[in-house]
Symmetry: C2
Subunit: 411 residues, 2 copies
């Protein structure tokens, strides 16, 4: 008998029929003798509907009140799933974040979980009751309702698994696992049986939208065994998804590269001819951060003649605003020669813990791209990832040839 | 400076624009220096939408879970109203039933309020904050969410006013007060400046749908000054509605009759020739009550020849079921001669505390109806009410002539 936390997203809770499907799936796990805590999101579209309603009343809704309102989405689905379970003879009980209670700080709309009280849930689990918890929400020390920010239900699931010492946290989604790359671009992409947390973090931040990155960090921190599964598979056809492990499997031959990630939603900016002196990076990026613009890659090469070029990438939606900021405020301030920008770029990355012990991954990657005539505009590396920025038009080609070059299309 | 509890129904909260209207109204009261607690219902239609969704998932939804779900309707509107108030510079704070907290028993979907903790609300009021409370809901001693049953927001308003010792509880609705009768039937009907609780109870139970009867009982029990007002009146055009007083105004000439109430939603049944012996009423009405059929008027006249006739009225929707029950189970059991029934009747009542001290009201009522050729089928009286059952087709005529006969069309 294991204690399992399952998390179902908005698509899985999207209609009465789907909710009954989830209930049947939960019942099958229960029938195998497991204890179950089920974390659910709001019905798909509901959170957006509520936010739109709030904005209809108030252009900039008060954050505390927005949380009161938006948290109702999950309050509806916990009740519906509990009803559906009782209907098929499974004892179940719903809990709001406040009823659990999931204690958070008071940062409304993006609160952080501080502590989870497991007493009520344990009592129910010991009685054989399925515990259903509203994802995405908590309460602060004064009883104010808080929410964890978009995608926070994954984090709720992992945090509950950590608090309960669950044997596994299963994230049900509309894909059946983590792939070596996007199968829409490379049909030969394979599902990974397992992937390490570090790889998953790099994949997630690079645009593999399977899991919310914060939940992966959380799982790594508390050593929660995380599994991504499909909620769409029929009874008897279920696969075991992808297990996200918090240590490398010592018994297995580690693949050098686990996957090719990419992101076409970026734009690059370069500040040309900035004085090569201490503090220049901060003088450029400080104002960017103050304007709430997220910066991804940052590259500065060795300078010459006392100046250097400084490049970085931002979300494409922030491109125009960032360029204006650079031209009007930063260029005169730091005394740069010129500002250049390009929003028609993309980032392609090879990710794998195996590259730690295998030199030559970078050169293989660069050679593969060169053979296809793809010019590399920027390069950035971490311990387990090599990212390049190339012209947007080469995205599919680059992903495809790298996927093949690193043997990811072979089992 | 007064402490005022205002309650707004689902129509008043029905759209973003209406919610902003309510906010402006609250702001005007606040500007007069009053402390305000505002109780709100869910947006009109929302509770029904949620119940339909629940029934879509589960034919007979679990009552505890239904409360978890349905209570979200008011959780949305408290947040929206708080946002709207903040937008116009009024400090406001929303509270769910659990956050107040409104302690109830554990009878899900029709819980009764046991106690209201006023500490949080007092703290906010002392700071000049407008307190916004979700109507219709509470929590039991184990923290389970409960609801008070349909129309429970009126009860929430009155209960909060009682707990806070408010100077007045204002119920905003889509009519501007209590009328001497339905203006759709008698255009000369006048709005009453004040009406006693007893009269209001008789009016409410007779079909004046202005206030939920439970809230009126509650107000009478705790001596809460209750006022019915229109939420549709424009700024500067507001009237003072109808004040529901818990004692007769000694300084005023009391009108004999305050209003003519009516109900066309009834049906009458008669058990003919039942043995005139003790316990017979219980033998007839016991099975009716066991089948959850509400009985309104009950009439039994003196018998003769050892038998009597026993009549009562029920909701028209229960007529067929009640008749079947009488014929198949009760008639053979009590040894009655026959069962008669008529679903084409209506009840017309004259209500007024003044009739206590003014004999002759009944005879005036009967004479007025006789002059119009309206046959009276049943008569029932209380201390402040005389009700008659007449053929449905005479409803409008009876109401009109009685309204005139008792001088209600004159200020």
């Amino acid at each position: 008998m294991a204690l399992i936390v399952q998390k179902y997203g908005g698509t899985s809770m999207g209609s009465a029929e789907r909710i009954r499907n989830v209930a049947r799936r939960v019942a099958r796990w229960k029938a195998q003798g497991h204890q179950l805590v089920v974390v659910v999101s709001a019905m798909s579209g509901e959170t957006n509907r509520l936010i739109a309603l709030a904005k209809d009343v108030s252009p900039q809704p008060d954050a505390r009140e927005l949380d009161v309102m938006v948290s109702t989405g999950e309050q509806v689905t916990i009740a519906l799933l509990a009803m559906a379970l009782k209907d098929i003879g499974i004892d179940a009980r719903s809990y709001t974040g406040g009823q659990v209670k999931v204690l958070t700080d008071s940062t409304h709309t993006k609160a952080r979980i501080l502590h989870i009280d497991d007493a009520n849930m344990r009592r129910d689990l010991d009685r054989g009751t399925v515990v259903i918890v509203a994802g995405f929400q908590g309460v602060d020390e004064n009883g104010n309702i808080t929410t964890l920010g978009r995608g926070g239900s994954d984090t709720s699931g992992v945090a509950l698994a950590a608090a309960l010492g669950a044997d596994e946290c299963q994230i049900y989604t509309d894909v059946d696992g983590v792939y070596t790359t996007d199968p829409r671009i490379v049909p030969e992409a394979r599902k990974l049986e397992r992937v390490t947390f570090e790889e998953m973090l790099e994949m997630a931040s690079l645009g593999s939208k399977v899991l919310q990155i914060r939940s992966v960090e959380f799982a790594g921190k508390y050593k929660v065994k995380l599994r991504v599964l499909s909620s769409l598979e029929e009874e008897g056809q279920e696969t075991s998804g992808t297990l996200i492990t918090f240590e490398e499997d010592k018994n297995m031959e580690q693949p050098i590269i686990s996957g090719i990630a990419f992101n076409r939603d970026e734009a690059k900016l370069t500040v040309l001819g900035v004085p090569d002196r201490p503090g220049i990076a901060y003088q450029i990026l400080g104002p960017i951060a103050e304007n709430n613009i997220d910066v991804d890659m940052i590259i500065q090469n060795v300078g010459h003649d006392g100046t250097t070029d400084f490049s970085f990438t931002v979300n494409r939606g922030d491109f125009a605003r960032t360029k204006k900021l650079l031209e009007e405020q930063i260029q005169p301030h730091v005394g740069a020669r010129a500002i250049e920008g390009d929003s028609k770029i993309c980032k392609v990355s090879a990710v794998g813990v195996g590259m730690r012990s295998h030199p030559g991954v970078a050169s293989k990657m660069f050679r593969t791209l060169a053979e296809e005539g793809i010019n590399i505009q920027m390069i950035s590396t971490s311990e387990i990832k090599i990212s390049v920025v190339v012209d947007e038009k080469y995205l599919e080609l680059a992903v495809r040839v790298l996927h093949r070059a690193f043997g990811l299309d072979q089992a």
